[in-house]
């Protein structure tokens, strides 16, 4: 197989799977197996891609290009850089785990459900590999379609408000991005991201950034987040915070920072301030949350802020740390939401006041949640310690107080994570925790353990990502040269 077709396969294989599932009148069990098969095949293709990726070469790899419509110079152009390949990996692994979770809990209306999950996989991979602005936009929007239905049909009681808020917020941002794309593309005569020139327009920068800060989200654009994360089915929340949020951060790196160097430095302080606000505010809200998913949701807001801090530091360490932290946090929050789902299935609630004492007699649950908590509060030696340390060191080179704020927020992270662990696992037994509530079943372990294993691997070797995301010794130079 030709290496360059791998990128397209990663986009279109799950979409083909989705269409197949919608057409074939299979039983629930067969549909779920087929979907799981497709998402595992997707992981396999990604491993093949990672194995064939040449880290010693600069520029775009495994690219494919075909004219979409010539008169405005729009083409279907896809390919991967080091950092986009890691994000594709995060997507396919997390989506496989979440699809498996849907299969495990036996979602009703299974053909619609699994088709949408596969469609979401393909669209998200598309965002990370698109090298043409319109193709990027198309996939960025296409993610919204399955998400809207997944939350709206399989979500909790207040899903209507949650979906409407989610869609209006994100579309408000991305439609202004469409206006910015039109302006950028027609002015520079191409919509291509690789060959397109840089731009000094502050308005265009803001048009793009608005879409990305809503998707990420950063303070104060996070209004859709708590409802969506609480009302969505747990595996969809896992995708939202683990993967979809990263699309916004990826957009900042790939488009806003790389294509708009002057506006980036002009607005650097403002964006860093928003990011720091998201970090502190998110951590405080996470500490105040009264339910499992609330803590994870707001901690995602905080982590998005931290990653944006690294990206907009504009330094070598900041970029390296941001990419590492995107992957690490993606794995952490996916696993945490899946465990939140598992807890809710056993106790019918995620409210802390009804939970507690679940560690007794449930060693697997306790071990996994402890491990995830320890990694996520950035204990030295963990993957997120490496990521956060790089980010804070990177932003320290801008000004010392940014890293002081960041370091303070890490203390807050320890507080909310330990609070979460003790409220679920320890303390007195909650009123909804029955003795019969089982430990994690093999099916659930099969979904979460690989994610945690990945995190442990990254903890042991963070350089696997942080030294393999950008070409050359200096990521900042690589970004300045637009990854060429």
């Amino acid at each position: 197989m030709n290496a360059s077709s791998l990128t397209s396969i990663l986009i279109w294989l799950p979409i083909a799977g989705a269409i197949l599932i919608w057409i074939l009148p299979l039983s629930r069990y067969a549909t779920g197996s087929l979907a799981l098969l497709f998402s595992l095949a997707e992981v396999g293709f990604w491993i093949e891609q990672a194995a064939r990726f040449d880290f010693t070469r600069s520029g775009l790899q495994m690219e494919e290009r075909a004219t979409w419509f010539g008169d405005l110079h729009v083409s279907y152009h896809v390919g991967v850089y080091g950092f986009s390949m890691w994000l594709v990996g995060l997507t396919v692994v997390a989506m496989a785990a979440c699809t498996g979770y849907g299969f495990w809990v036996g979602r009703d209306r299974s053909r619609a459900y699994f088709g949408l999950m596969l469609l979401l996989t393909g669209a998200t991979v598309g965002v990370f590999v698109a090298q043409d602005l319109l193709v990027f936009y198309a996939f960025f929007e296409a993610m919204l379609i399955p998400l809207y239905v997944l939350i709206g049909v399989w979500g909790g009681a207040r899903r209507m408000e949650a979906t409407i808020k989610f869609v209006i917020y994100t579309m408000a941002g991305s439609l202004l991005m469409l206006a910015a794309i039109i302006a950028y593309g027609l002015k520079s005569g191409t919509f291509d991201l690789v060959n397109g020139p840089t731009s000094a327009s502050r308005w265009l920068f803001l048009g793009f950034m608005l879409a990305f800060v809503i998707k990420a989200p950063l303070f104060p654009f996070h209004g859709w987040l708590p409802d969506a994360y609480r009302e969505a089915p747990p595996e969809v929340s896992a995708v939202l915070s683990g993967v979809i949020a990263k699309a916004g951060l990826y957009g900042m790196l790939r488009i806003a920072i790389a294509k708009f160097p002057d506006p980036t430095s002009f607005y650097r302080t403002a964006v860093l301030a928003l990011a720091a606000a998201a970090l502190v505010y998110g951590s405080l809200l996470a500490f105040r949350s009264t339910d499992f998913r609330g803590v994870v949701a707001y901690s995602s807001l905080a982590q998005s802020g931290l990653i944006a801090l690294g990206l907009f530091a504009g330094t070598d360490l900041g970029f390296d740390g941001a990419v590492l932290q995107m992957v690490a946090h993606g794995l952490i929050s996916t696993s945490l939401f899946l465990i939140a789902g598992a807890v809710e299935r056993r106790t019918t609630t995620g409210e802390f006041r009804f939970l507690g004492g679940m560690a007794r007699g449930r060693p697997a649950l306790a071990t996994l949640l402890m491990t995830l908590g320890v990694i996520s509060l950035a204990v030295p030696g963990s993957a997120s310690f490496a990521g956060e340390f790089l980010i804070l060191a990177g932003v320290f080179q801008r000004a010392w107080w940014w890293s002081a704020i960041g370091a303070g927020a890490i203390v807050l992270a320890a507080m909310y994570m330990l609070r979460l662990i003790s409220a679920v696992l320890h303390e007195a037994r909650g009123s909804t925790v029955a003795d019969e509530a089982l430990d994690l079943r093999p099916g659930e372990l099969a979904l979460v353990v690989p994610l945690v294993a990945g995190l442990l691997f990254l903890s042991a070797w963070p350089a696997g990502i942080s030294h393999h995301s950008f070409f050359g010794q200096s990521p900042a130079a690589s970004v300045r040269s637009q990854f060429k």
Partner: protein, 509 residues
């Protein structure tokens, strides 16, 4: 004495002649064919007529690389005309499929035995209005323009009222007649003023006269243009000339609504683009502003009014007003890019508009009452194919990249940007944002209600027809075709744009 006869290029008029001929044959069916066979016979004639006209239009497209006027400068034989006729005939074919099972509309009180009473007349009128539109898009002077406008409008007035015992149908026909006559009157008066100012009715002649006599900005001419814009605005249901649209779309039999919402817009917008760029290039600064404002008003009124509707046909009617606004953005740019954008936009738009009304027709048949957001509950799960198609059309209308609607919006906004109108781009973007609420509202109604409401509605098709639930194969074929066209236009942008580019080359841009 020698009789002077004009040379007539019969082949150039082929699609129009075929359609009008088929219309006569279908009308004969109404009296000569026994009632039991009438539906089948007249539908077959309509299908054959539209197919033959479609083939001829394609042939004309291939054969008319050098556009010119025929019949003493009355009619354009060029690719702009031919491509418009192709789209119109395709919609006509789909409408025929829909009409077989859905004319007269469902839910009327009268005897089911009498369902076939006016079926042949319906198909005759459908063919006649198709012929009028096919003539309209090629009009080369103001008289032909008015003649063909009245030709298809009169057919449409009757089609709206054909279900005279269906609630609202007669009212719809009458309302359309009165308001439509007003629009036609404005158009005629405007034509008279333009003729008075320039001394000619031919599009090219008007442009020449304006240039040679320095008439740019002449009061008569400008008033005439304004009245013509208003008259055409009525036909394309652009605000503020849209008042009739929701009522007529709601009251008319849904098949007729599907036909009007797609085909009438195609004809009116293509003609308007040609008329403005051919006859009034010297006043472009005036009409492009006029259309930009009409577009803005249409986007605002269409989208905001749709937010509060409960009746699905009314929502779709307001949505069609807002889409007229989007297409007028392409028109107001007045450039080759604008022409391509308009021509491209019409393809996915008419597919989605037709398809969504066809699905409403299917639901109407099940329920026997007008379709609202309330009684749409559960439709998506009961009828998976139609539900997915409706879901698809709604997301496509909203400009999400699930169909060609996305690329169409991108094109018209790009045309506005290149014209230097960033504000119009922003207006378009904001209008899209507002529109999301009601398009998603329909999806929500179909799929996301609490499970108690998602049960099959009582009654259903059995209650109306008294037998087993209807299969409606032809409706499925029509909706499937609309689905394929709107999805395909997302991927096949390049070939479609090439066709549109060749078509727009016929215009003096």
């Amino acid at each position: 004495m020698t009789l002077h006869t004009t040379h007539v290029d019969w082949f150039g008029l082929g699609p129009v002649l075929v359609l009008i001929g088929a219309s006569f044959v279908a009308l004969l069916c109404a009296v000569l064919v026994p009632r039991a066979m009438r539906r089948l016979a007249s539908a077959t004639i309509a299908g054959a007529g539209f197919t033959a006209a479609l083939v001829l239009a394609v042939w004309l497209y291939v054969d008319s690389a050098n556009g010119h006027t025929i019949v003493s400068g009355a009619f354009y034989r060029d690719r702009w005309t031919a491509l418009g006729q192709v789209i119109l005939c395709a919609i006509g074919l789909a409408t025929t499929l829909l009409g077989v099972e859905h004319i007269p509309g469902w839910g009327r009180s009268s005897d089911p035995e009498r369902r076939d009473d006016h079926i042949a007349e319906f198909f005759a009128l459908l063919l006649a209005s198709g012929a009028g539109m096919a003539f309209f898009v090629g009009a080369a002077n103001l008289m032909v323009l008015f003649l063909s406008l009245e030709w298809f409008s009169i057919a449409l007035y009757v089609m709206c009222a054909i279900d005279y015992d269906l609630e609202g149908s007669l009212e719809a026909g009458l309302k359309y007649l009165i308001v439509g006559s007003f629009g036609a009157g404005a158009l005629l008066f405007g034509s008279a003023l333009v003729y008075g100012a320039t001394g000619t009715t031919s599009f090219h002649g008007i442009a020449r006269a304006v240039a040679s006599q320095g008439l740019t900005g002449d009061t008569f001419l400008v008033t005439g243009i304004a009245l013509i814009v208003a008259g055409l605005g009525f036909k394309m249901s652009a605000a503020p000339f849209h008042m009739w649209t929701p009522d007529v779309y709601e009251g008319a039999p849904t098949t007729v609504t599907a036909w009007m919402s797609s085909a009438t817009k195609v004809a009116a917008l293509l003609l308007a683009f040609r008329l403005m760029t051919t006859a009034f290039p010297h006043d472009e600064h005036l009409w492009s502003w006029a259309f930009a404002i009409v577009a803005t008003v249409s986007l605002a009124i269409g989208n905001f009014a749709a937010l509060v509707q409960r009746n699905v046909k009314r929502i779709l009617a307001y949505s069609s007003i807002s889409h007229a606004g989007f297409m007028l953005i392409g028109l107001s740019a007045g450039s080759a890019l604008g022409g391509r954008a308009l021509m491209y936009y019409l393809v996915p738009y008419s597919a989605m508009a037709f398809g969504s009304f066809a699905i409403v027709a299917a639901r109407e048949r099940e329920l026997g009452v007008p379709v609202t957001l309330e009684n749409l509950a559960g439709f998506g799960w009961e009828r998976p194919f139609l539900g997915v198609a409706m879901w698809f059309f709604m997301f496509g209308f909203a400009g999400l990249p699930l169909g060609g609607g996305f690329v169409g919006k991108f094109y018209v906004l790009a045309a506005a940007y290149r014209h230097g109108w960033v504000w119009l781009v922003i207006v378009g973007v904001l209008a899209t944002l507002v529109s999301l609420y009601y398009y998603l509202g329909i999806v929500r109604a179909m799929y996301m209600r609490p499970s108690a409401e998602l049960q099959v509605q009582p009654g259903g098709s059995v209650a109306v027809s008294g037998g087993a639930p209807a299969k409606e194969e032809l409706l499925h074929v029509a909706v499937g075709a609309a689905f394929v066209v709107s999805l395909g236009s997302l991927f096949a942008v390049q070939p479609l744009i090439e066709l549109a580019r060749h078509a727009a080359r016929a215009l003096p841009l």
